[in-house]
């Protein structure tokens, strides 16, 4: 058994700082969405039970405050991965899609062979890169609905005001889906793997 370095300190910080920031962005987004819940409708009792009704102004104030921290953390993370070379571990490779398929079969217990013993498998590479692209998508669609006149070209590119709002919404649903799968996979992978995101090291055989 030995201790093996897995996650650099910077990435661990970016990761754990992102978690509450994204949660705040989603939650304040829900406060805003309540005022015109066009895509997924809930009855008023549900909104009330979740205590997210009649809080549009608060939601906007929070959203337009924490957006800076959320964007800043994301930009720094991307810059860090670029300059440190960590991106090589994270960006999908030519075989990632095929490998991701194997990972999926493995995780669904259809395929028995063990997964490649690499830091991030193809499914992870795709997921961790996709979520960054989604983050960029949220910033862009967000800007398009925040300033649809000053950035009218951008709003038009995204299908107009209502179109950009729809994209912004579904990206958020995408984060929630990512979160669920991510947490499920972390639970499956076990304590040693989870701990590595906190202490940086993993115990390997």
């Amino acid at each position: 058994m030995k201790l093996e370095k897995k996650h650099p300190l910077a990435i661990r910080w970016f990761h754990w700082i992102n978690f509450p920031l994204l949660a705040l962005m989603v939650w304040s987004g829900i406060l805003i969405y309540w005022a015109y819940p066009a895509y997924i409708k809930l009855d008023q009792g549900t909104w009330r039970a979740l205590k997210v009704n009649n809080r549009l102004a608060e939601g906007m104030a929070l959203h337009f405050f924490f957006m800076w921290l959320f964007a800043g953390n994301g930009v720094l993370y991307v810059l860090y991965t670029l300059f440190s070379g960590e991106w090589r571990e994270l960006v999908p490779r030519r075989d990632s899609l095929r490998e991701a398929w194997q990972v999926l079969l493995h995780d669904l217990r259809i395929r028995k062979e063990p997964l490649p013993p690499r830091k991030f498998n193809g499914a992870q590479r795709i997921a961790y890169t996709a979520v960054i692209v989604m983050g960029l998508g949220s910033l862009i669609t967000g800007l398009a609905i925040y300033k649809p006149v000053q950035f009218a070209w951008l709003t038009a590119l995204l299908g107009g005001y209502a179109g950009a709002r729809l994209l912004h919404f579904w990206l958020t649903v995408g984060y929630c889906a990512f979160f669920l799968v991510h947490v499920a996979q972390v639970v499956r992978a076990g304590w040693n793997n989870f701990r590595a995101m906190v202490i940086g090291y993993e115990v390997t055989k």
């Binding site: 030995k2 201790l3 093996e4 549009l56 337009f64 006149v149 709002r165 115990v203």
Partner: protein, 291 residues
């Protein structure tokens, strides 16, 4: 595992043969390059022979890592609580009000009168919608109605016919409600900028205040937005004179702002250097509310 801190950092490992589980694991680890990092343990030793040492090291790292994470979580939570509980300013805790103001200054610096709200065809007009009756509750007599303009050399009082003397403008633009919905409306009226040119402010103003006759609803505008070529004093909507609940006889159509600034039933326009109060701005919303 209380006081390993006191122990010397871990005995030098004897870098000899890995006595890894002798079992049936034929796959040799590819060279185990352990990368150094931010001054966590002096990890000269990649391979820890001794499970006990390893366990202690993991414990040490875990204590450090999880305590740091807990401290960060605590600090984050405390900051959140602190931010949220600051004295509200116009309906929102002041740090978030400052945040809105910072965003406003960026938006105003970037604003250009040459960037227009997209124009649609008349056939794109969507079903109209009534949302907000504040300031419309009392009866008004259209014949007796006047638009008052204050902040000019002498107060101005205009009838609708006076306003019709200005060049008539028609535009089909999107009205975006702060709630999130948007509709397409065709407006006809005159430019606020044209009216301001004819009745110039006494002092160069920074702001324009627009109020209903009963002053129940009022909006504040920055000068640049008020002067935008698409900021109209509108008396027609979708080809017909304004209906009472759409703001007859005169309303503001200002697509560089959210719907909340498109005030209905204008009574008074005032040029001022003091940031005017804004009905929704006083109730937790962004005063600027600009697009």
């Amino acid at each position: 595992m209380s006081n390993e801190e006191d122990l010397p950092e871990i005995e030098e490992p004897s870098q000899d043969v890995a006595e890894n589980p002798p079992g049936d694991e034929p796959i040799p680890e590819a060279g185990p390059p352990v990368i150094e990092d931010e001054g966590v343990p002096p990890a000269e030793e990649d391979v820890r022979e001794d499970d006990e040492d390893l366990r202690r090291e993991v414990n040490r790292l875990s204590r450090r890592g999880f305590l740091s994470l807990a401290a960060a979580a605590g600090a984050g939570f405390a900051s959140w609580k602190l931010l949220r509980t600051r004295t509200p300013e116009d309906g929102v805790a002041w740090p978030f009000r400052r945040g809105l103001e910072v965003n406003e200054s960026l938006a105003r610096a970037y604003f250009s009168p040459n960037r227009l709200s997209p124009q649609f065809r008349s056939s794109d007009v969507t079903k109209s919608r009534i949302n907000g009756r504040i300031g419309l509750k009392s009866e008004i007599d259209p014949a007796a109605w006047r638009l008052r303009i204050e902040g000019t050399a002498v107060p101005v009082s205009l009838t609708l016919d006076d306003l019709r003397q200005f060049p008539r403008r028609t535009m089909t633009t999107e009205l975006r409600c702060i709630e999130g919905w948007s509709i397409i409306v065709q407006w006809s009226g005159v430019r606020l900028a044209d009216v301001m040119e004819k009745f110039p402010p006494l002092h160069p103003p920074s702001y324009v205040s627009v109020e209903t006759p009963d002053r129940a609803y009022y909006v504040g505008l920055d000068l640049a937005s008020a002067l935008h070529p698409q900021s109209l004093l509108a008396f027609e909507m979708n080809g017909s004179p304004l209906a009472p609940l759409h703001g007859a006889p005169l309303r503001l159509a200002i697509p560089v702002k959210y719907g909340i600034k498109n005030i209905k039933r204008i009574g008074t326009i005032r040029f001022t250097n003091i940031r005017p109060p804004d009905f929704w701005g006083e109730r937790g919303y962004d005063w600027y509310a600009g697009h």
